[in-house]
Symmetry: C2
Subunit: 424 residues, 2 copies
């Protein structure tokens, strides 16, 4: 435990760590671990889809020529394929283009300009629009809010989800709070999944704003890393039970199932919400790429096909998570300078170091050739109040690269911690 | 000339036409000519793209794995392919997803919420936002405005483009006018192309609103029907000469080159506009479908490839336009009850009948099994002040179907005209 070291011991340790660090630096490495990107081996799992998948056949099961105009909300077999990911009925889904981020952004843009189902006026007609942002969270969620001028209120994460006492209190009091961001399963970056209690409390929220929406980004719903995957309750079902059927909008995509550049994204919600969104969306586009929808439906066939496919992803990436966790357990745990969660799925390990060390660790890594997600990125406005959280994305590098990157990371984390302790 | 007929002659003619009409009705036809859709034979021209085009190769020329995240504005070879369509430089283009309509809608939504390059505030902060709408025009342009609450001001079309006296006067006077819709080549539905004078007058507009934009939807830029195609000036170049480089936003797509369901769309504009749009768009999506961009680049290779491809389209659809025009010349022209333009390209023949007959003609056709674009659709708010314009879309039906459909159309047009003349 570094905290128990004397100043002398810390200085000695610092010299040692600096020497180690300089040795790594001399290697002139160049590794990018900044984003949760699948590795090329993962993308290879789906390449059949790109070639002969549509040989001589481009009609949907109901006879639509997928090459031509039409069908705003997705061809039947694409809906059928995606429905189980969100646990929704046929009339509770829209299959869109290649990006769930785009569906989320567009949903918020429409809510701002036009309003949501049952809302009295567009959000932008409110004095202010605010979102609750459980943090650490997904930087691109927060960036949407910031870009559109939506004020963000940070809500801390507890062990089983956002601090629901705070969420309940805030939404009940303030009708300018129009939404909350959630990544309910293998949360980005914490890796935790929401407990049944948390999901039920979400479904039973009593927001003062009648046009409040839960943005339920279930990006990692089938992205398991272990044989004992997490399970979460179906929020739409819970919302229906609670008499709040229209309060949740769910999103997911195949970005980390098939291709991040060329997958399918979808929205799930109450039939009324979906109908309303369709009625707004029809002015934006005649339809998304049905050929890519057909490609996915033919390749995966059904949800079992996706499940089997995800096991292959797991085989590739679980060892990478193990490298990260083994290194942290071996190099960091004994010194009491950080904590992290051992995720059952998702794409990240969330590292929480000593206060005031995250930026320094990221800078040290960068100087030694390892690019991490910027410190603070996991918080609204990019400002981590404790400057302690770092998102580690193990999937893209090779195992060898990752091993080296984690060695550098651990040396950097130790060095930054020792420096911090010496300041005191 | 029906106008010169006596009431008795008209009544006699009406009986004859009714008998002909009833005979067609008895055939119980079902033909849809409501939209400008390519025929299956046209889509077959590009099917190679759907199969082996990406065999074992999914890297862009600059080494980007098109299956993975990244590249907001399009891979280099897709930009290279699309640039000549709009006549823009490398830094003056964004290649997007499958829909130019979506790019236009999103551009307007962002202008409303966030503002445009050089604008002082978002459009929605104005008391009112108005668009000039040359009409008859594209119904989906007008629908975007209507859905977002942008007030539309109709501008009539003259022989060589919109009434520029009116356009110049209105934009100079009213700073709530933020945009104008243009389809400069083979205009939807009139088929005319803007003269050099009109393009230059556009480029030299002096709008009172500093954040005014020309929405230049060059949807039919390579969609020629004859060996003597129209040519239009490059509006961006003209705008630069006139000192208004940022006033125009250009759009086009391969929807009617490759696939309406799975093509590529793009925005062209000044480098400053493009940079600004990129800076806003980065919050909406990580990137469009690069695999489809690569597919198109590999299939068409370059602009010459597109030009050669469009000749094949012409071979398929020019005969269909001839069927429409021959029928109109033979059946309608002698009676002085309508006029139309003989287009050198595009997807439509714009039929202007006697005042107060368009709705009736469309209804008669529908009753006889031929669905046309709704009368009025080519005007803002769906309201044709003269109830005289009908958009004929010849491309989708087979030649035989089209022949029959046009027979029904001509009988219906004659019948409606005779009815109208009898009212007087």
């Amino acid at each position: 435990m570094y905290r128990e070291y004397s100043a002398e011991q810390l200085n000695e340790l610092k010299s040692e760590l600096l020497a180690q660090y300089e040795a790594y630096k001399a290697k002139n490495l160049k590794l990018d671990m900044s984003r949760g990107k699948p590795a090329p081996e993962q993308l290879n799992l789906s390449i059949e889809m790109l070639t002969h998948c549509l040989d001589g056949d481009y009609k949907s099961e109901n006879g639509i020529d997928c090459r031509n105009y039409g069908v705003l909300d997705g061809i039947p077999e694409a809906k059928e394929l995606m429905r189980p990911l969100l646990g929704v009925a046929e009339d509770e889904i829209i299959v869109g283009g290649n990006s769930s981020l785009q569906l989320m952004y567009d949903t918020i843009a429409r809510a701002m300009l036009l309003g949501v189902y049952g809302g009295e006026k567009p959000w932008c007609k409110s004095n202010k629009v605010k979102f609750l942002c459980p943090a650490p969270g997904y930087d691109r969620h927060f960036a949407i809010c910031e870009s559109i001028g939506i004020e963000m209120i940070t809500v801390p994460y507890l062990e089983d989800g956002p601090d629901m006492d705070m969420v309940e209190k805030l939404v009940a009091e303030d009708d300018e709070i129009k939404g909350i961001w959630c990544v309910p399963m293998y949360s980005n970056p914490t890796g935790i999944s929401y407990s049944d209690t948390v999901v039920k409390r979400f479904a039973n929220l009593k927001p003062k704003a009648k046009d409040f929406r839960i943005f339920w980004d279930n990006a990692y719903c089938v992205h398991h890393l272990t044989d004992t995957p997490d399970k979460i309750l179906n929020i739409l079902e819970e919302c229906k039970k609670a008499g709040n059927p229209h309060m949740v909008l769910m999103f997911t995509s195949t970005s980390k199932i098939s291709f991040p550049g060329g997958g399918l994204a979808c929205i799930g919600a109450s039939a009324e919400n979906i109908k309303f969104i369709d009625s707004q969306m029809t002015y934006q586009t005649i339809g998304y790429d049905k050929l890519n929808q057909l490609r996915h439906a033919k390749f995966f066939k059904n949800f079992d096909g996706i499940t089997a496919h995800m096991l292959k992803h797991k085989e590739i990436i679980a060892p990478k998570f193990n490298i990260v966790l083994d290194m942290l357990n071996k190099e960091i745990a004994p010194h009491g300078i950080a904590k992290w969660h051992n995720p059952n799925g998702g794409y990240f390990v969330s590292f929480t170091g000593m206060d005031g060390t995250a930026k320094r660790i990221v800078a040290l890594c960068k100087e030694a050739g390892v690019v991490l997600t910027g410190a603070g990125a996991t918080y609204p406005y990019g400002k981590d109040p404790h400057d302690s959280n770092i998102r580690i994305a193990p999937t893209f590098p090779t195992c060898d690269e990752l091993q080296t990157a984690m060695e550098i990371f651990c040396v950097s984390a130790k060095l930054a911690s020792v420096e911090k302790l010496l300041e005191k």
